[in-house]
């Protein structure tokens, strides 16, 4: 069977020992100039131990020629790309093909793992889409790794709708049962939901938070007019993140700064915050304020819609006509409103560095270590530590992606 033989080739490729020399390795909050990477079975291994204990020399030697070697980027909020929208169900086959297209296409941006994101949808859409977007390993055949799904809504506030469909919104008067019901959690053997965005000011949400966390779901708050008190309560109950900070939440008001006010909390640990660094959705100065308040909490997200990766032009996406101009902006043709983001994750990293004046390391960590920490997977993803999956990128000094590797194998970025 052709599938088996390709699986076998992959295993053979993976059993090779790869040594990477002359790279500047981003590790432990610093850049290490004189170390090497050893990769075996798709993982980063301890080179010294391997050298003295196993005794077999590397099968493949890769010269990084002085480039930076950083962990692969992780995008925890991406609605679609290359003309495909995760929230639009056209059938099982179409969704699987769309997923493949995106997983392979994102590699050129240095993205090695992502969390497909579904906007507020009707019940049947979740039941159709969620089983198709189960976690899936990244490798040469699959492209970037699917870490699980981010369900953004429908338990969000109608006053902070953003681009969501109002008729889909829900409250949770029956607590966790309403969540289980709409996502169909009881029907899914392995819960594919990794992240949920909820509004703490929606009925029943705060009371369900602890149970959601117990399901193994990372809770993020957003699309919400929550007061700072409600926002802090959500964090105390286990929410760990703010969804696209500044967008779709109360404006900062000094008497009640709302969710944005979590940036200034001293009572509890300041949460992570996703932030869209396209320079359009959030002003660079706002990004700088967020960074200065909590540099270790920054998580760069694209929040990209289906026009990411498409050439400029007019498209009909999800039934709406949109116009993409340049590589940064996409508007609804009818009214000129922003139709979502079309920035790539590597561009987010460059912008974040430019907007905040942070170091190269901090910019990279905001798209690697921090999202991995948010999901509690930092032992496998988002670092180049021994034991981590060998997902990494070669970057030049301007943070352009030169090469991308997933599970130790170079994936063509062209």
């Amino acid at each position: 069977m052709p599938f088996q033989s390709s699986e076998k080739t992959r295993q053979n490729r993976n059993s090779r020992l790869i040594k990477i020399v002359n790279g500047r390795i981003v590790r432990n909050h610093t850049i290490i100039n004189d170390d090497v990477l050893y990769i075996h079975d798709g993982k980063i291994i301890d080179p010294q131990n391997h050298f003295f204990a196993c005794g077999n020399p590397p099968d493949v030697l890769i010269n990084a020629k002085g480039l930076l070697i950083a962990p692969g980027y992780i995008d925890v909020q991406i609605n679609g790309a290359f003309g495909v929208d995760f929230s639009v169900w056209k059938g099982d086959k179409q969704m699987k093909e769309g997923l493949d297209k995106i997983a392979k296409g994102l590699v050129k941006y240095g993205c090695t793992s992502f969390v497909p994101t579904i906007v507020s949808s009707h019940k049947e859409v979740y039941h159709q889409v969620l089983p198709t977007l189960k976690p899936r390993k990244g490798n040469k055949d699959n492209g970037a790794e699917v870490l699980g799904v981010h369900v953004e809504g429908p338990f969000i506030t109608s006053s902070q709708l953003g681009a969501h469909e109002e008729s889909c919104l829900r409250a949770a008067p029956n607590g966790i049962n309403d969540f289980v019901d709409i996502y169909g959690l009881h029907e899914l053997k392995d819960n594919p939901i990794k992240i949920i965005t909820v509004a703490p000011d929606v009925e029943g949400v705060l009371d369900s938070l602890e149970e959601l966390v117990n399901f193994g779901i990372t809770v993020s708050i957003g699309h919400s007019s929550a007061t700072v008190f409600q926002a802090e309560s959500a964090i105390e109950k286990g929410a760990k993140c703010i969804t696209h900070l500044f967008n779709a939440m109360q404006q900062f008001h000094h008497r009640d700064p709302g969710i944005v006010g979590l940036l200034g909390t001293t009572r509890i640990t300041r949460p992570f915050y996703g932030i869209i660094c396209d320079g359009i959705h959030v002003h660079p100065n706002s990004i700088k304020i967020a960074y200065d308040s909590n540099p270790k909490g920054a998580i760069l997200v694209t929040d990209a819609m289906a026009a990411l990766g498409l050439p400029p032009g007019e498209y009909t996406l999800g039934g709406i006509s949109v116009r993409k101009s340049g590589n940064e902006k996409v508007e609804v043709v009818e009214n000129g409103k922003l139709a979502g983001s079309v920035i790539s994750i590597d561009a987010c990293v460059k912008n974040f560095k430019k907007f905040t004046g942070c170091s190269v390391i901090e910019a990279i960590e905001a798209a690697t270590l921090h999202p991995a920490e948010l999901l509690g997977i930092q032992n496998f993803k988002g670092t180049l530590n021994v034991g981590a999956d060998a997902d990494f990128v070669f970057l030049d000094d301007d943070l352009n992606v030169v090469k991308c590797f997933i599970a130790g194998e170079e994936i063509s970025t062209s």
Binding site: D34, Q48, F51, F52
Partner: protein, 278 residues
């Protein structure tokens, strides 16, 4: 014995590393006939290793057919402890070059039977046909490897209890806690080193000046074990000016004049690496 005097540590490193590179390349090692190199740890060879790595990266030197034997290792220290000599060699040399892991020999200080481990090491050197070039450094008391004052000049690879002074000096690498410093080490013997076809010793710094004087101007003496090289037919010492402070002016001038004669009267091109005339 040849004594090469250079102005400082960097020039000493430059000389010895060029020498090692030329020796290996001239030897034209193959799988069947590898170049067997003895290696030290400590501060003396760091510049040497740095240059060897540079030559390798420039494509001037390959270690594909080089076999190495290290001088010593602590007993009971985990192999990946940052102060182990395994770690030292990995970080300063091995990880940067193309040496085959199976061609690297470092004593196993965690072996169940330490005496057997030492015997195995000696046998391995013998089986491969001996060491072509053994490079060493010395301590301020003139010891080579862990062959501290009083060690037999006939000694072979063995377990050695460290002198209290050595333990004290090493405590700076172990959180200044003397209880963390290993008390024993495995070390090649003076005899093991002297059996090599060539011995090269790096000596730099004023604190080693007395040791250098004792080793080359006085008799062979087990209180300065490196003095045994006086009995070796192909010995090279590379030192810096600071290390010559305790030498007689006559000694320094004599060895400098030899280099002068070779370079200006005979012509360096007419003299082989090891001092032989073409």
């Amino acid at each position: 014995m040849r004594l090469i005097i250079r102005s400082d540590y960097n020039e000493v490193s430059e000389y010895i590393s060029t020498y090692v590179k030329n020796r290996i390349n001239e030897f034209k090692p193959t799988k069947e006939r590898p170049f067997v190199l003895g290696l030290p740890t400590g501060s003396s060879p760091i510049g040497l290793y740095k240059n060897l790595v540079k030559y390798h990266k420039n494509g001037e030197l390959s270690f594909k057919h080089v076999v190495t034997f290290n001088m010593d290792e602590y007993v009971g220290l985990p192999r990946d402890h940052p102060e182990s000599y395994h770690s030292f060699m990995w970080h300063h040399l091995f990880k940067h070059i193309d040496i085959e892991p199976r061609n690297v020999n470092i004593l196993d200080g965690n072996a169940e039977n330490l005496s057997e481990e030492c015997a195995r090491f000696e046998k391995k050197i013998k089986d491969i046909g001996g060491v072509e070039l053994f490079i060493g450094g010395i301590g301020p008391d003139g010891h080579i490897a862990f062959n501290e004052p009083g060690s037999s000049l006939m000694s072979r690879t063995r377990v050695k209890t460290l002198a209290y002074d050595t333990i004290l000096a090493n405590s700076r690498f172990f959180d200044n806690d003397i209880n963390k410093v290993p008390r024993m080490a495995l070390t090649v013997g003076v005899g093991t080193v002297m059996d090599s076809r060539e011995v090269a010793v790096i000596i730099t710094g004023a604190h080693k000046a007395l040791a250098l004087a004792k080793c080359i101007e006085e008799g062979v003496n087990h209180m300065f074990t490196v003095s045994a090289i006086q009995l070796h037919s192909k010995a090279l010492i590379v030192c810096d000016e600071d290390a010559t402070l305790e030498l007689h002016v006559k000694t320094v001038k004599y060895f400098k004049s030899i280099e002068h004669v070779i370079n200006n009267l005979i012509g360096a091109e007419n003299v082989g690496l090891q001092g032989n005339i073409h």
